[in-house]
Symmetry: C2
Subunit: 511 residues, 2 copies
Amino acid sequence: MEQRFADLKQRLAEINDLSRAGSLLAWDQRVMMPPAAAAVRGEQLATVTSIVHERFTSPEVGRLLDELRPYEESLPYESDEASLIRVARRDFEKATRVPGELRGELARASASGYAAWQEARARADFELLRPALERNVELRHRYVECFAPYDDPYDPLLDDYEPGMHAAEVTEVFDVLKPELKAIVADVARRDPVEAGFLAGSFPVGEQRQFALRVLERFGFDPTSWRFDDTVHPFASSMATTDIRLTSRYKPDRFDGLFAAMHEWGHGIYEHGVDPALERTPLARGVSMALHESQSRLWENLVGRSRPFWRFFYPQLQEAFPEQFGSVDEEAFYRAVNRVEPSFIRVEADQVTYSLHIILRYELERELFSGALDVRNLPDAWNARMADYLGITVADDAQGVLQDVHWSGGGFGYFPTYALGNVVSLQVWERMLQDIADVDEQFARGEFRPLADWLREHLYRFGRKFTPKEALERVTGTALDPAPYIRYLRRKVAEIYGADETPATVTAGVS
Amino acid sequence: MEQRFADLKQRLAEINDLSRAGSLLAWDQRVMMPPAAAAVRGEQLATVTSIVHERFTSPEVGRLLDELRPYEESLPYESDEASLIRVARRDFEKATRVPGELRGELARASASGYAAWQEARARADFELLRPALERNVELRHRYVECFAPYDDPYDPLLDDYEPGMHAAEVTEVFDVLKPELKAIVADVARRDPVEAGFLAGSFPVGEQRQFALRVLERFGFDPTSWRFDDTVHPFASSMATTDIRLTSRYKPDRFDGLFAAMHEWGHGIYEHGVDPALERTPLARGVSMALHESQSRLWENLVGRSRPFWRFFYPQLQEAFPEQFGSVDEEAFYRAVNRVEPSFIRVEADQVTYSLHIILRYELERELFSGALDVRNLPDAWNARMADYLGITVADDAQGVLQDVHWSGGGFGYFPTYALGNVVSLQVWERMLQDIADVDEQFARGEFRPLADWLREHLYRFGRKFTPKEALERVTGTALDPAPYIRYLRRKVAEIYGADETPATVTAGVS
């Protein structure tokens, strides 16, 4: 049995090696590759992806997984060995459900959808995307059918990003969240706007990058295991737990690349913190998109937009940008980076409105897949909801329904994990406060390692050993619960705007 | 039949994609990777290499190659299709000769040989490498036996780098070359040394890199398809004909990184110049190591150490380094970068002594594999020949037999291609002069594109379609011939040292 396990582990290690080679091809494409190589690189990526799939879904892997059932059952649930077999079996069952032909069609539709989206967005014309989007929706319907029976056609889509979660659970959380967030937005609209003009101006890119790196180094960034590069769209990628790569972007006329850097740090430190014993296994990753996003949001917002963080860093920031911030006091700066302001573009949204952007997308996705909404009516539905949730009028599709790349590539089911990440980040945070009572004082002294260590101990090191639900339960002792997030936002808004801290509705925990 | 050909081509394209992913893993490892990832990256590289081998040597590929024989024969020899089948069959026959077990042992012996070499070189103690080297030699003997029958046990080793070439041919060339080179070295030793002290001094790394890039841009470097990075050991790599990556290194106290950059440019422009129709096939590479090296040497020496090259660039160099070169005239600089000076380290050797370093290694390799030399006697044999060929006394093994990495990894048969590259570079050059009579005037005006275009037209675009011999014959109309190289060196030495241009022996062409 040990021999069979060793065989499985070796096969999975090779598949993982290949998959990481694919990650490198993708990272390199965005960060290093000369642009003329785009077409060939696309082929290289497609080949590696397809060989990874072919090897993982091979009959030998299926046979080993079957034969190893008794071995798995003889081992403790939380052992690395049982976890590896269990997670690999789940991945295998999903991967073998979808016929190769459909997989190929999905990949092609995704590629042509992406091309159509670029064109459509450039011209702010949804009709240019519509045929490709209809094709994507149709193919995703066929994809969903591969996982029948299901409670809800949205469930198999969601499961790709948040394994084991059901649409009903998301809806339950969002049903609590939406009225709260709308109430906060309405409340803030009645207050005096927060001055933030000083965040625009002359901010040389090199100095912004240097300052961001200084912050990351305080967090624990170390060139022995990390890289930090520039890209148009910030992202994090890892080729090993000892090879974590972050990117950010800087505009010369705005101070903002730091927040993207801290966000990506959160993704990176999660994968860096996975137990090295899980290296080269499918467990050496974050457990789900929501849990991953909870960490990027935690480091970006709960650390990077906190008062004690700026207590430590603001004098250094003033020193780095004396002309821009020399005469702005810490309180004014703190309020500016925490201001709430409805806007059109999700990726530029603040902590309150961000989740409303997500709820809007989630609702439209649900309706597309329940049949309640036709693709052709997407722009109208989008614009109506933007007016309802954020009180703003979308001028054209480029700043509306065409702003995100996800749908053009067939990526339905991903969006809700962003908002769930916000929710989870506060659950983790509140639990952490029970153990590190003086976290504020630590931050004010520039000490962030105790937080990172706590997170590694309670979440990061397990990688994908447990389900997202189990992982959340292990950290927080509870299930998904929007209450901490709502409390946090209320408190923050009260602090920044002098608004009311009382919630709009009763925010009982969601079971 | 067309269907079978399409099938083969698709398989080879995927194998090529995977192999290029391996190239990226290797490039990244040397240029970008955080060092803590070294162990995992080693596994990733081993996995990709082994999957490439497994897929290429699959029975399906063998069957297709067999079935496609009549198709190949129905097509013109020089067609892309016939060439693809022919070259793939040759590669397949080689790849399937070596049992997987031996392949694995070779890889392991190579890895431990490399580790032993690092230790041995650091301590200048050959005995620390000896056991690993003996193991490498023993395994390579077994490797050679996979290719029996052969004329000479060295032939199968050489064939890995210079397909189709026999040791007897190399010996014939080196037998002509050696007395000539020794005579030139002896001749130069009687002349006044050339002043080159001004090449040492303060040469800021950033400015050296910038100047090197300026030269490459004149050659045709374009960031659309190229990268140019820093590494400890300069090298060239390509992930596609549109993705060519060069590196160089710069010492702050010496002007020298430019020559490495031009050398790597020669490797890069060769692969960049391959016909795009051959992309994603095994033909999209340089045809052999000697042909490859002929191009790096051509651009480094025949272009980059030429008088008209410096006629154009020297004023710019003086401008870039006014303190170092402001009072050095062009002639003095030209003589300095063309001086001949016996030295211990191959990679730092000049154009004359370089090939003697190679001939020494070739002779020792031949003797190791004929049984005439025992590994334990390598250092003595090395040192004796250094005294004979270059007139210098090796002080310790670090600057002697331990200087190169090749043997520690089992890389026997590679060295001679370096000297053959010098030989071929001059054959190509002399043929080019028949078509571009005013190449000197072009260089003096900073025009290098006509040369690059000529080389692409006559050599680069064919990739691996023809054998090395055919490729050489197509460019030059002749077989391998050391006479042009010897003429060039004689002329150069006469120019720099006022030495005699008459060759030491009659240098009839080698057939």
